[in-house]
């Protein structure tokens, strides 16, 4: 069914050495390659456009969803709409992720638009890895959009990472916390190198009473790469939000971090912190006193930072 390159990419983006339990949908080069449903999770193809609907029944526990995407045809442009309907009280882990293997000279691109409707008191952990490889001159481009609507008491953790290989990315995340006591945590990890560009834009809108958000963005920009971050949090009710952006800059890279917090309610409490800097010399020295070379010390620091 899958060739070795596709299997390798599945392993990289979804830790899938084999088909996992739970609901699974594998998309390769714009086609459905594999699908299975689980007891309380049903995946169906959309009729009006490319993509799938993932329906998670209320109260679903201990079931997972894996929906990785693999692109191996150079020059292929893939656009997909995936909608998640998470029923009340469900508690699920969703593993997405996209890997591009481009060994040709044409650009390969995947634009995934994921929309989540998270029901009352439901819990979602969403893990998304992006990865690129291949020796071709064609670019590997990934432009993910993640849109979330959270009802009362819903809790979402987004863990997104892009570590190496993606030439161009424009990431947009929008979360509307409409129900009271809803919470979202966003953990973003990004490493760019060579001449890569990454833009990450985020709007977290805290509409419900006592809603909370924590945004932790960590990035490393190496060589000639560029990164821009726009994390924005809006508090429209009694709420709490904390945005923390940390970037390590290396070589001739350029990083811009433009956090914005907007309070439109007297009981909204929002904080942002942003820091960009090179690896502290003292950290390298410390690890060298433990027997690591300069290069090994640097790598350990980066690995830990992006873990």
């Amino acid at each position: 069914m899958l060739n070795d390159i596709q299997k390798h990419i599945l392993q990289a983006v979804a830790d899938m050495a084999q088909i996992p339990d739970g609901a699974v949908n594998i998309r390769t080069d714009g086609q459905k390659a594999f699908r299975q449903n689980s007891e309380h999770i049903a995946i169906t193809s959309k009729q009006d456009k490319d993509g799938i609907d993932i329906r998670i029944a209320p109260g679903t526990k201990d079931e997972s969803v894996h929906i990785p995407v693999v692109l191996t045809q150079s020059g292929f442009h893939d656009m997909v709409y995936n909608d998640f309907f998470v029923g009340e009280g469900a508690d699920v882990t969703i593993v997405a992720g996209c890997g591009i293997h481009n060994c040709g000279d044409c650009d390969s691109e995947h634009d995934g638009i994921h929309t989540f409707y998270v029901g009352k008191n439901a819990k979602v952990r969403y893990i998304e890895k992006h990865y690129g490889e291949g020796e071709g001159r064609g670019k590997r481009v990934l432009n993910p959009q993640t849109v979330l609507y959270l009802e009362e008491g819903a809790q979402v953790t987004l863990e997104t990472s892009q570590i190496r290989g993606v030439d161009d990315t424009k990431r947009y995340t929008r979360a509307e916390l409409n129900g009271a006591d809803a919470e979202i945590t966003v953990q973003e990890k990004l490493l760019t190198h060579g001449a890569q560009n990454a833009v990450s834009e985020m709007d977290i809108i805290l509409n419900g009473k006592n809603t909370k958000t924590q945004v932790i963005s960590r990035s490393v920009a190496q060589e000639d790469s560029t990164q821009v971050f726009y994390p924005r949090v809006q508090g429209n009710n009694a709420c709490f939000g904390h945005v923390q952006c940390d970037s390590i800059i290396m070589g001739d890279a350029k990083v811009r971090s433009i956090p914005e917090i907007a309070c439109n309610h007297v009981d909204a409490s929002l904080i942002h912190e942003a820091a960009i800097g090179k690896i502290a010399g003292e950290q390298i020295l410390k690890l060298m006193t433990l027997g690591l070379s300069h290069e090994e010390a640097e790598q350990k620091i980066l690995d830990g930072f992006l873990r």
Binding site: R218, D246, T289, L290, G291, I301, G304, L306
Partner: protein
């Protein structure tokens, strides 16, 4: 054996080079426990960092077990058995206590092995092993993790730079026990920069460093009373060439 021959160190100052260390000659036999003490700004930390290779001397030679290590890097010296605990250790976003201990030991450590090192500095592995060594730890906690990493090196020469700084009374008592045990085990040479009598009393000898020079050296029972006697009115021992 550690030997320093005519070691000097100059740093760039506003009005030209400033002498931080001047012509230090020093020989430390294996398995000895020495405390380096002296006034602030006298050159103690610089001396320790020169031994570790963090600073390069502008003049002189450093020999470790007969080998000239003056031109060796920090990591090369670490691999030859020299370890150094920073006075103000750095923090790491994303590196856990377990990571630092494993790097120090040169291999992934089992829970029990890591626990043994942390216990020696008064930390409980259950509470600390998976903690990030970042700003969530207090100054005293980071300092104790730092000392644990030096212990995990199991080096032939262990240098600790003011290990007591920032540490509470209870943890300090535990730490002095650890230094005493280390000395009793007679596996390593111990060099501690300290101003604390409880640590000084554990040592075989005191090195008094002042004004960038070795102002005095001798057994604790001989040197320490002299320092204490003269600190109130001004210490003659701190005078070098009739200059203080």
């Amino acid at each position: 054996m550690l030997e320093l021959r005519n070691v000097s160190y100059q740093a760039a100052g506003e009005n030209g080079p400033v002498g931080i260390l001047r012509d230090i000659n020093l020989c430390i036999e294996d398995k000895r426990f020495l405390v380096i003490t002296g006034p602030n700004g006298g050159g103690k930390t610089t001396l320790a960092k020169i031994i570790m290779g963090i600073y390069q001397p502008t003049q002189g030679q450093i020999l470790w077990n007969g080998t000239d290590i003056t031109g060796l890097s920090i990591s090369e010296r670490a691999k030859l058995g020299i370890a150094y605990g920073f006075q103000q250790p750095p923090r790491f976003k994303g590196l856990k206590v377990r990571d630092l201990l494993s790097i120090a030991a040169g291999q992934p450590l089992s829970h029990d092995a890591a626990c043994a090192y942390l216990t020696r500095v008064g930390l409980c592995a259950r509470d600390y092993l998976e903690r990030d060594v970042d700003t969530s730890l207090s100054g005293g906690e980071v300092k104790r993790v730092e000392i644990a990493t030096v212990l995990a090196r199991q080096s032939a020469l262990m240098i600790f730079d003011e290990p007591e700084a920032g540490i509470d009374l209870w943890s300090f008592a535990r730490l002095t026990e650890t230094f005493r045990d280390l000395h009793d085990e007679k596996k390593s040479t111990i060099l501690i920069i300290s101003h604390q009598e409880r640590i000084i009393r554990l040592a075989d000898e005191i090195l008094l460093v002042s004004g960038g020079q070795l102002a005095a050296r001798g057994p604790v029972e001989e040197i320490y009373p002299k320092i204490m006697q003269q600190t109130v009115t001004g210490c003659n021992l701190l005078e070098v060439d009739k200059k203080c």
